[in-house]
Amino acid sequence: MSVDSASQPLIHARGLTKRFGTFTAVDAVDFDVARGEAFGFLGPNGAGKTSTMRMIGCTSPISDGELGVLGLDPRHHGPQIRARLGVVPQHDTLDNELTVRENLLIYGRYFGLTREECARRADELLDFVQLADRAGDLVEPLSGGMKRRLTIARSLINEPDLMLLDEPTTGLDPQARHLLWDRLYRLKQRGVTLVLTTHYMDEAEQLCDRLVVMDKARIVAEGSPQQLIARFSTREVAEFRFAPGIQETLDGQFEGLAERVERLPDRVLLYADDGEDVVLAARDRGLHPETVLVRRSTLEDVFLRLTGRSLIE
């Protein structure tokens, strides 16, 4: 059932469009995802990421354009495609009336696995997501991070060709996020193809080999995190924060200090290959920020450059 040639993309989208009435949620996007890749959709809430994921997951009909998933057409073979997907939805859809292990057993049955096979895989997966000690507990008292890990285990029960993760760590505390990233990284190492959406640039940088930046229903850039940073930002950024009321009085004071200057309501970002040089040059001009931070450029800077806005507003 696998796609016959290695060169064939697992997902192939051209002019893919989703409309709800007169509202266009996804506006003619093009992308391909290759086998074994970790591919991300990075963008703010409302950019069209979830709608795109639902179309790939065959739980939302496409409005226009072309979409092939695992070499099949979602319009005609939704159930057949879903048989080979592992889906981690944005909001947990676990069965609270069942135990942790039963959630896996019963889900495997929907993919036509035998009870023995379900039991074997459930135990393996509970080990993998570090929930073996909670196997017999009901789902409800689990923490948010545990529920996400159980959802990931559930999505792996059919040994999917392709995993779809919609905002996998939204709402989790930092420790739970790192644990989840570690598990997803291991899946990636095993060659599982991951497609994920996120509005966290650190998540995209950690997990994605390649990503597209989405904004207002369109793809605005595509590449690896390093490529995108190299293309749309500088190596470093100097962040200046001034005492309240000062920043507004400094019109024109930053000209020529850096390759590019972004003024945010609470700070000024100066883009340059060497941030320390910018700091020194600013001192020479008599600028006295309260705090100075020199850091590497991130995807957040790429997004700011491309859209003029922050990812998380």
Partner: protein
């Protein structure tokens, strides 16, 4: 395994076979049964408790009063014998309606497990049929418990009592299927209270459950004919009392009406489920 390739060669992978509807229904039943294990005791208690309460209060209490001056329309039956099949059909109607409302809304809206199921190869129609089959099993359990109580009360007159069990289940499904279709259009349970208050309860009172519909003013009698419950009550009564052979055609009409409503309900539900699970 069929291989489909469209004109532009996009569908290039072999198309795997899907499991049959029957196999996927069995998976839904297995899932619901696993959930049910946790509430089994409480539900078993009410399955026996409700008929005992009704047959004691109405059958023995009210019946003792009615039987002092037996009405000719009872045709020599005790009131308890007349009442039992009516309450069987009405009880199953209520259980079938409840099962189509809250647990279904839960799966679509609260814990969203139907959405999780829909991320597997299952089709919307299979989710409907699987749940309907599970409700049929539950209604069978309720009907069997009810029948045991009827026999224990000495109110059974015919071995056809056994045939009243599937008749009662069919009566329940004629409510389950259309209400499931309605539930899939709802996001809150707000309208369920009105449905029970203005739909189910009046049917319970005016469908020949407690008295022959001929006792109603003649203007109100046609209500019975359009009430699915009346068809169920009359069918169960004729089976339980062994009088079905007096008018077999009417028995067939009852079955046809109830089966027809169930099929229409399933068709409607498969559409409303599809619309709900497939985000337009």
């Amino acid at each position: 395994m069929a291989t489909l390739t469209d004109a532009r060669g996009r569908t290039t992978a072999p198309v795997p076979e899907l499991a049959s509807s029957l196999a996927t229904m069995a998976r839904v039943i297995e899932h619901r049964a696993l959930q049910y294990r946790r509430t089994f005791r409480a539900s078993l208690f009410s399955s026996f408790g409700i008929p005992v309460l009704f047959l004691t209060a109405m059958g023995l209490g009210l019946g003792g009063y009615v039987d002092q001056n037996p009405d000719p329309s009872l045709a020599g039956l005790t009131y308890l014998q007349f009442l039992a099949p009516g309450v069987l059909a009405a009880t199953v109607m209520q259980a079938g309606s409840f099962e189509a409302a809250y647990p279904i809304l839960g799966g679509l809206q609260w814990n969203k497990i139907f959405h999780a199921m829909f991320a597997t190869p299952i089709r919307a129609l299979d989710i409907v049929l699987g749940n309907l089959a599970w409700v049929a099993i539950r209604l069978t359990m309720i009907s069997v418990a009810f029948s045991i109580v009827v026999v224990a009360f000495g109110a059974s007159r015919s071995p056809l009592l056994v045939a009243a069990i599937p008749a009662a289940v069919l009566t329940g499904l004629a409510f389950t299927a259309p209400i499931m279709a309605f539930t899939a259009t709802q996001r809150t349970p707000d309208r369920f209270a009105a449905m029970f208050r203005f739909g189910i309860t009046p049917l319970f009172l005016f469908s020949g459950t407690f008295y022959p519909i001929e006792s109603l003013p003649s203007l109100l009698q046609p209500i019975a004919w359009i009430s699915p419950l009346w068809h169920g009550v009359d069918l169960c009564r004729r089976l339980m009392l062994g009088t079905i052979d007096r008018d077999p055609l009417l028995g067939l009409i009852h079955v046809a009406v109830l089966a027809g409503i169930t099929v229409l309900g399933v068709v409607a539900a498969s559409r409303t489920f599809e619309a709900r699970l497939m985000k337009g």
